[in-house]
Symmetry: C2
Subunit: 144 residues, 2 copies
């Protein structure tokens, strides 16, 4: 059975579920930063998913990337499956700007996370839920 890794549950806030992946907002207001976690137990690498799941993850990643580009008006995304610290397969999607605190370096380990205020968090999640619902093809998005 799929269970979200405790570290991801601590760093992330549930936005909803795609058909395959759980969507989390990372609680760091310095960057618009989302993570997809395929709801398949025991996965640590993308290639371990079966072919159907791989393609579904790609779809969800591209949908998320496209929506983030529009919603956060950015020219650059960083997309990465690292997992050196948290082995459960998860894919980072981060909107980047030349004005952000880590640019042009990757964000990991650069500046300590700055949590959202409750208002900002609620608003960011609401905006993303709305944008994603509108783009979803299969209607299987759930607010989780």
């Amino acid at each position: 059975m799929f269970e979200l890794h405790p570290q991801l549950a601590k760093d992330g806030i549930l936005v909803g579920d795609f058909r395959l992946s759980r969507l989390l907002l990372i609680n760091d207001k310095q960057y618009p930063w989302f993570v997809l976690v395929p709801r398949r137990p025991g996965m640590t690498e993308i290639f371990q998913l079966d072919e159907v799941d791989r393609v579904q993850l790609l779809k969800e990643s591209c949908l998320l990337a496209q929506v983030m580009t529009t919603v956060f008006a950015t020219q650059k995304l960083n997309i990465a499956a690292l997992g050196n610290m948290v082995s459960q397969l998860h894919v980072h999607h981060i909107a980047r700007y030349p004005s952000d605190p880590a640019w042009p370096a990757p964000v990991w380990g650069k500046a300590p996370a700055v949590p959202y205020s409750e208002n900002d968090r609620v608003e960011r999640i609401a905006v993303m839920r709305e944008a994603l619902t509108a783009h979803l093809v299969d209607g299987k998005f759930s607010n989780g």
Copy 2:
């Protein structure tokens, strides 16, 4: 027309061409580190590729990842499309080990690159060419 970004040409050594992507070995012997560059001009994000190319990139990425896991006997890969410095779409594939100089941090910006000796470089490329040729389904791999 596709042309490899000069910075990628400088940092990487040609291994060969998959059907979609050019495969480069990054000239840093501290990590087994390869980059896929889809041979499509003007791309900066994965979602900008058309659907056929997206799926082809996924296939090539998973093939490369699987082969790297075996050839370099690692439990962990880092796979990332960043592009903050070099905008041409390229996807890093890095075999990671608890004993490597950046672990558990990402490798970018950690330790200056240490180039391969000519012998080691030639051998690493030969091993990967052989491993990939054996796994290729469509026979379109070329030594470039």
